[in-house]
């Protein structure tokens, strides 16, 4: 795609508040490590690939499961194949403006999106991102909704911000809603386009209604120090 074609394609987004000047170039320069490629992450990956993000690093060791069918990236015939390989193929075909690679130990990400299957993996991944000094967004589904937490550098950590939940994995439209909300928060964070987001915030999606609150550090948490 030529620069003129790319400019025409993103002309509408360039008119958005927060994206008019530096926002879109920041997305183009971003290298985003995405943890997970399941039903929550799949829609997020597709939107990030189409939004003008420069590089995506994919990170999922599981195979496509029957429940993934219809999760935007995978067809029923791909059940049993590697999620990573299947997602790489779809995402590379989806956009010629993004570079898509498997994540590796030397991945030089500038931000992280975490859509992990379990709370434990989410916690570990979030802590790695925080210690690496990377802004990160964590999505945790919970049946028909869930929570999405934006953690800019220096903001209260995932453990401070997350709230308890049953953590029943969402499927279908509910999973897509949480995944797309997470992708939205990541784009706003990377572009620096949401004025209230820089101190950290948590958006709960309950009964189809998103509601944001600023996050706060838990007394005694050491995340301020590192």
């Amino acid at each position: 795609m030529s620069d003129a074609d790319a400019e025409a394609r993103f002309a509408g987004q360039a008119l958005l508040p927060g994206f008019a000047d530096a926002g879109l170039p920041r997305l183009r320069d971003a290298r985003v490590h995405v943890v997970g490629a399941g039903p929550v992450a799949a829609p997020a990956l597709l939107y990030l690939a189409r939004a003008g993000v420069g590089t995506l690093y994919l990170d999922d060791g599981a195979d496509v499961e029957p429940g993934d069918s219809g999760a935007w990236l995978y067809a029923p015939a791909q059940v049993g194949q590697s999620r990573l390989l299947a997602a790489l193929e779809v995402l590379r075909a989806a956009s010629c403006t993004v570079e898509v690679r498997p994540a590796a130990s030397d991945t030089s990400a500038t931000a992280t999106l975490i859509c992990a299957r379990s709370e434990g993996v989410a916690r570990t991944s979030a802590e790695r991102a925080r210690l690496a000094g990377l802004p990160h967004v964590v999505a945790l589904g919970d049946a028909g909704g869930g929570e999405v937490i934006s953690i800019p550098i220096g903001a209260p950590c995932f453990a401070c911000a997350s709230r308890p939940g049953a953590r029943v994995q969402p499927r279908g439209g509910a999973a897509a809603a949480i995944g797309t909300l997470a992708a939205l928060e990541l784009l706003l964070l990377v572009a620096g386009a949401a004025p209230g987001q820089e101190r950290g915030r948590r958006i709960a999606l309950v009964e189809g209604r998103p509601g944001a609150e600023a996050t706060a550090r838990r007394p005694g948490c050491g995340c301020r120090l590192f």
Binding site: D5, A8, R9, F10, A11, G12, Q13, A14, L15, L16, P17, G18, P43, A44, L46, Y47, A49, R50, A51, G52, S69, G70, A71, W72, Y74, A75, P76, A77, A93, A94, C96, G144, R171, G172, G173, A174, A176, A177, G179, T180, L181, A183, L184, L187, L188, A193, A194, P195, G196, Q197, R201, I203, E207, G208, R209, P210, G211, A212
Partner: protein, 237 residues
């Protein structure tokens, strides 16, 4: 869990909002999907409607989305009529439909779908975007107010003086997904999350609020329904 195999859903608009809505309905097991959007796929659509592909450029959006759904849900009964949307075609599209999703994001279109759904007694979920702001409303004819009860009609100046910004793709994905999930809720006979309550969400602030939408005396859409004997309350069996 209500069996959705025997149900038909109409999605009007097959771009940034309609694609995720159709996916949510297909994933929930809807029996038949009608995707109404004759507009051609344009380059800007590919940013906010990631189910559409470069190879779809120039094709009618409804047909292009039907192709994407067929890959993800082989065997799904999906049709994509290509007549342009107007008051008459909106009425025709609603024949035999159990729930409608308004994903037009276009002022005249959203009121045409509203009026036809109210007249036919078919529950409708409306979703729309403007910049970073999104809104959702469910209209249950005979029980809640409708779009005309709230806004009366399209704004008087249909053509903007300045170009409108396109929304971010994931915001369209969020609203489209919520639209589809809400349509499934209504098909299952559950109370809609947005039934008679307009949800407004502003993505930069994360701020949301709900506005109650009650039937308005004198609403032309609701009055026309009363005059014709309550329409086909609840749509087809």
């Amino acid at each position: 869990m209500v069996e959705l195999q025997g149900k038909t859903a109409l999605v009007v608009g097959a771009g940034g909002l309609g694609g995720p809505a159709a996916l949510a309905l297909a994933g929930a097991g809807i029996g038949r999907l009608v995707l109404a959007d004759a507009a051609p796929v344009e380059p800007a659509d590919l940013v906010i409607a990631p189910l559409l592909a470069e190879s779809d450029l120039g094709r009618p959006r409804g047909a292009a989305l039907a192709g994407a759904l067929a890959r993800l849900f082989p065997g799904i009964d999906v049709s994509a009529p290509e007549q342009p949307l107007d008051a008459g075609s909106a009425r025709d599209l609603l024949l035999g439909v159990h729930v409608a999703a308004d994903a037009t994001n276009h002022f005249p279109g959203m009121f045409q779908v509203n009026d036809a759904a109210v007249a036919a007694g078919v529950p409708m979920v409306h979703g729309a975007l403007l910049g970073h702001t999104a809104q959702l409303l469910s209209v249950v004819p005979g029980a809640t107010g409708c779009l005309r009860c709230l806004f009366e009609g399209p704004p008087p100046r249909p053509e903007p003086v300045l170009p409108e910004p396109d929304p971010l793709g994931p915001l369209a994905g969020l609203v489209g997904s919520l639209l589809g999930v809400e349509a499934v809720r209504l098909l299952e006979g559950k109370p809609g999350a947005y039934a008679g309550r307009l949800l407004v969400y502003e993505a930069r602030s994360g701020w949301s609020r709900s506005v109650s939408v009650r039937p308005r005396p004198g609403c032309p859409a609701c009055s026309a329904r009363h005059a014709q004997g309550e329409g086909r309350a609840g749509g087809p069996p």
